[in-house]
Amino acid sequence: MKILAVCGMGIGTSIMLKSNAEKAAASLGLDADVEVADIGTARGAAATADVVLTSGELAAEIGDVGIPVVVVDSFIDGDEVREKLSTALGS
């Protein structure tokens, strides 16, 4: 499966989110690739992803992409990322 971590520019916050998402996916036993996208390319990149992780600010801009868009409040809270990912995927 593919997890997409979205931030404004794809160089800062999304990298911090990617690191936590990889750890969360591993602890949930998911075989997942985590990719990073900036807000400009997020909608296109979402077409081949299974779930999107992003901030509340940016979730509103991404809108409906047909897959779960998970809002993460703290990008450094591994427990939050794991719980929300697990809920979104029903695993």
Partner: protein, 157 residues
Amino acid sequence: MAEASLSQLLPQDAIAAGIEAADWRAAIRAAGDLLVATGAATADYIGEMHTAVEAYGPYIVIAPGIALAHSRPSPAVLHTGLSWAGMRTPVEFGHSTNDPVRLVIGLAAVDHDGHSSALSRLARMLSDPGRLARLTEATDPAEIHRTISEYESSEAT
């Protein structure tokens, strides 16, 4: 070439604490001034960091009390580097859940991934609430840099 470590990307001269900032612009400017002072960016980059928030909102407030101020790679970035600006009085960025901000980390990056393992390490370092509290309450740049270096060497072993 091996990727630079967190303590190399964030030298002691790029760390300041006890900064008084009137608003989010001043808080980002403080982090930007440190990037300029340590040669990571030119003063133009500070305006680019402001523009990023104007364009995309305060999403750079990545966790309660912490903002990662940055913009895209640009001619205003001279080399990849980080800065650390601790606020004396927490500053409102307009974020729905993570305000107010006590720590602004500045990031200037020359490319998309040359700094990714250092940022991942930063995320892991800040994810421990006790360590985070110690780091944001410290006011001595030497002590903050030492704590970061010690974390990094403990993680490497």
